[in-house]
């Protein structure tokens, strides 16, 4: 594995814990309020408009704590090469080339594409990785 790939891994690991810490801070408690039954549950919106997974939850947290789906959106950038963007989508999301190219073309033609949707923490990690590849990516709450 190359040094830059190592750095990406470290970046992912460090931000993962920071993200959890900041969530705890928002909740105002010293430990995670999320129960084991709901840990790792992901509401995956693989294609825009279709939630494919929605595990039942036993949480009774306040409205603020309910982790509604978040979207990972990539925006058009005239500088990044189309082939580069396709490679990044394949690497970050593990998409096959055809799907990665479809998203890349959507970014190019429509100005943006929703690459992934689900829980906030993995969505943040995806955005972080995309920024590591210098793509214009944002995290947006599903409305």
């Amino acid at each position: 594995m190359s040094a830059i790939a190592d750095s990406l891994f470290e970046l992912r690991a460090s931000y993962g814990s920071l993200s959890a810490m900041s969530r705890e801070r928002r909740r105002g408690v010293g430990c995670r309020a999320q129960s084991k039954e709901t840990e790792g549950t992901t509401h995956v919106l693989d294609e825009p408009g279709s939630v494919t997974t929605a595990e039942p939850t036993q949480e009774t947290d306040s409205e603020e704590d309910i982790d509604l789906p978040w979207q990972v959106v990539v925006h058009n950038d005239p500088v990044n090469l189309m082939s580069y963007v396709t490679m990044v989508f394949q690497r970050v999301f593990g998409y096959p080339r055809e799907k990665a190219e479809r998203h890349m073309l959507e970014v190019h033609q429509k100005g943006r594409s929703i690459l992934w949707a689900g829980m906030r923490e993995p969505a943040e990690l995806y955005v972080q990785q995309l920024h590591g590849y210098l793509l214009l990516a944002t995290l947006e709450k599903v409305s």
């Binding site: 970046l11 005239p78 943040e124 972080q128 990516a137 947006e140």
Partner: protein, 163 residues
């Protein structure tokens, strides 16, 4: 200039002094030099403006890591480029050998350089699509040529990674 894959290396040979100098410029070109447009492009917002808390956390925790990541890629490229150091006045063509395992670092550094140059010059999409503009007209034309040349190298490295 010729570029080809030789076992576990990417070899750029027959580099004339002009192209060799453009390659030597890669690390310096990744520096935003205090130009806010360039800085903002390298460290863009993770939100669409609706999550100020997330943005503040990002600035505090993620941006320093991104800086470290970009810098480590640039340093690796700078080390590879030391092969081109030597007699600056020599007009002889040079050869640069890039270890395949450095390909990701090169992709990152080339991308940083292209984005920073584009932001500093505020190039339009039309200008960026003009791949046949002469590099001899002005400093701006040279910058555009630099972006296209670095893009060509990126394309080649991506193709090799694909194989």
């Amino acid at each position: 200039m010729e570029i080809c894959r030789q076992n576990d290396q990417i070899e750029i040979s027959e580099l004339d002094p002009f192209l060799a100098e453009l390659l030597r410029q890669i690390p310096a070109s990744t520096n935003p030099d205090g130009v806010s447009a360039a800085e903002q492009r390298l460290f863009s917002s993770p939100t669409n403006g609706k999550e100020p808390e997330l943005r503040a956390e990002w600035k505090a925790y993620v941006e320093p890591e991104l800086r470290r990541l970009f810098q480590s890629a640039t340093e690796m490229v700078a080390t590879d480029l030391q092969q081109l150091n030597g007699d600056e006045k020599s007009l002889a063509n040079r050869t640069l050998r890039i270890p395949a395992k450095h390909a990701d670092a090169w992709l990152s550094a080339l991308n940083q350089a292209r984005l920073v140059i584009a932001a500093k010059n505020d190039f339009t999409e039309t200008e960026l699509s003009d791949h046949f503009r002469s590099p001899i007209g002005s400093r701006r034309d040279l910058s555009l040529f630099q972006i296209n040349f670095y893009g060509f190298l990126q394309e080649f490295i991506l193709r090799e990674l694909d194989h």
